[in-house]
Amino acid sequence: MADQKKKQLTPEQTEYQQLQKKREAKRPVIQNCIHAFWVGGLFCVVGQAIQYFYIFFFNFTEQTAGNPTAGTMIFIAMLLTGFGVYDRIGQFAGAGSAVPLTGFGNAVISAAIEHRSEGFVLGVGGNMFKLAGSVILFGVFSAFVVATIKILLIQWGGL
């Protein structure tokens, strides 16, 4: 698709794009990676602490503590989004705050807040998953594909 488009460019357009490229500010990729690494890691540390909290203070095992931990993390992300902090963390941390579960929470909640002005049904209800919907779709789909491969390997591969 991208190559196809490149081919249609006129020589004038190609020339300009090369000129423009020289002036274009580059994304600080390495810096972004470092920020994403430690902020994302920090989120996971908090998540881990919450999981231990549920295991030690409530009747959860390592297997069952996952759900309340996820719920708590999303709740924290919701509060941070509502107070207008999460988008600032996002600008700083990039993938570090977008990839963990809290990023999913932020995507849902920011859309819900944004479309509150259009009412609860068509606004909040209709738009809440406009960013997160593709995460759910492709998450479920890739789980299906991976599970299918696993079953096929067990059935036929004799693992």
């Binding site: 000129l19 423009q20 500010a25 580059k26 996002g90 960013l131």
Partner: protein
Amino acid sequence: MQAGHRTWVFDQQPVIVSTGTVGGPFEAQGPLANDFDMLHEDLWLGEDSYEKAHRLLFEQACQKALEKGQRQKEQVQFVLGGDLINQITPTSLATRTLGAPYLGLFSACATSMEGLALGAMIINAGGADYVIAGASSHNAAVEKQFRYPTEYGGQKPPTSQWTITGAGAALLGKEGSGPRVTSATIGRVIDMGLTDPFNMGGAMAPAAVDTIEAHLKERGVDPSYYDLIVTGDLGRIGHSVSMDLFKKNGTAIEESQYKDCGIMIYDESQPVYSGGSGPGCSAAVAYGHLLNRMKKGELKRMLVVATGALLSPLTFQQGESIPCIAHAVSIEAESE
């Protein structure tokens, strides 16, 4: 009247009787805060949605212009304005309050100068005594329209720009004292095949260069005729790219006389990435800061070139490149 292919030279020289500019909280922290007629400390402007706040921005800019010009809204024959929101509703709703005949415009961020050019044209042709031309933008409403929800934690690249919260309106009259609109050049749609919606400056620079060069050629003036040639919202990247293009084409524009409203409106320390943008950016800076400088006598002649990227969220998702436009209007101080 018509000079060349797409330039109008106004023999009646319509007067900018007065202007009104309104800004938001982020603009209030910028270096041009003193040049705004009205600044809001809250992005909501006391309304319950950003779109309503957006409407209010334009309404207040028009009211301020009328108030400063000591004219009644009944005297205004036409309002020409636009914004970036779907079907330009904020401007339309604001004009409902004003009650004047209305022509809604859309040239994205170039709407401000499209309005001024057409308004001057109407007055020059004897079609009206008073016309209001203006444009506005609201950061959160535009983010919602074009990008992600405002609280979504997406990372913006350094090429992106910050849509300003602000509005500018100019009351144009047939007679009176004040800066005069002397000519206008209408832009063509220029598309250099760029597809990154987070790099508008780079996409719009060729449109600005095309319009400026056409203007100079058709009006038959040298760049040094103008004390200032100012683009609307090219930002830092677009500004330096357009300078490169001028050098390449051999247009003798000096670095010192070539500025950009999007760079001027914010401080270096404000996190606006490449600079400000939006229809309100060129409108508020030109009608506020720059006209104030002209009134002080610091500027005699200036060319305001508002630049616009005519994309929609739909077109860039469908893989279309970004079509861009620039409209130029020259404003000159009254000769004694």
